[in-house]
Amino acid sequence: MERWADYKALGGKLVRVRLREEQGQIRSIRITGDFFLVPEESLGKLEKMLEDAPLREGELRLLVNRFFRGTGAQGLGVSSDDFVKAILSAKEV
């Protein structure tokens, strides 16, 4: 099942999520938008980490927090909480 969301982050930026879900799990995900994330290449790592993750807030929050801690990535206009909320707000297309 395809799901998507355009989520306006508290920092003012837009997080656009397109994902494929099967049996409550993310099979593939693409995150785009006008936010800042340094280093830029780290977004691909986040998407990779989210593959096969359950679409549940607790697990997603752990994963996204682990991504920021592990990579030392710096977001601007978007936070780890925004990424989680954007994913959870994705509706069936």
Binding site: D6, K13, D34, F36, P39, E40, Q74, L76
Partner: protein
């Protein structure tokens, strides 16, 4: 090629092969996407074909901007240990390195103000957007200033998501952006704005600015980046 030069300079500065640099430049009709943006979602492809607008992608985040000859672009590259670098926090970098442009615009007679996250506004309307990165041992900050751009084309070629406009309580791009020309109420050239910004930078930061041209190394690197990255559809139009 402009996007390739934009990457070549901070790389050369970070390697100590080039001095701290501010570069001014123009594009003809072009949409410049942020590195995380989807071309399919952000761009009206039909309108781009009709208006002869190119689509390219930069290496920094942030939102899509429309460039034409009425738009003045600048890029500032400083080594990480340069005294003007306010730290490794991107928000502080945007604020600090926008000050020169803000001062320059004020010298021209408009009430420019930095507006977080990355805008310069005049009376609540955006006149410039900035983006940047911290990499290659360099702090890089670039921005585009709407001097006398054609805002009607801008609105056609960019699909601005409703969520962005609703947040600002305005119905169209044209109502939330402005140009230096419109704010001054007179014709103004990009050269005049460039000179004002150079003045702003010199007085604001207490530094001297000397004019120059791209070095052989910068040009070589830019050419390589153009061939391997910035001329390629997979870079410019994916995802």
């Amino acid at each position: 090629m402009n996007m390739a030069v934009e990457e070549a300079i901070p790389r050369a500065v970070g390697e100590g092969k080039s001095p701290s640099t501010i570069r001014f430049w123009h594009n003809s009709n072009t949409i410049v996407l942020g590195c995380f943006q989807s071309a399919k979602l952000e761009v009206n492809m039909d309108a781009c074909k009709e208006t002869g607008t190119e689509i390219v992608r930069r290496f920094t985040g942030g939102g899509a901007v429309y460039h034409d000859s009425g738009n003045l672009n600048y890029g500032i590259s400083l080594r990480k240990d340069h005294p003007l670098v306010p730290g490794q926090n991107l928000q502080s970098v945007f604020e600090k390195l926008s000050e020169g442009s803000v001062q320059g615009l004020r010298k021209l007679g408009v009430k420019a103000e930095f507006q977080p996250v990355n805008d310069i506004q005049i009376d609540g309307k955006k006149v410039s957007g900035a983006a940047g990165s911290i990499r290659w041992n360099t702090v890089f900050h670039h921005g585009c200033i709407l001097v006398n751009s054609d805002l009607s084309i801008l609105e056609k070629v960019l699909n601005v998501p409703k969520a962005k406009l609703e947040d600002r309580h305005v119905a169209s791009v044209q109502k939330r952006v402005t140009t230096v020309r419109d704010e001054l109420g007179r014709d103004v050239s990009t050269r005049e704005v460039r000179d004002a910004i150079v003045d702003g930078i010199q007085s604001c930061y207490g530094v001297g600015v000397e004019s120059g041209v791209l070095t052989k190394e910068e040009l070589g690197l830019a050419e390589e980046l153009y061939q391997t990255k910035y001329s390629r559809l997979e870079w410019n139009l994916e995802p």
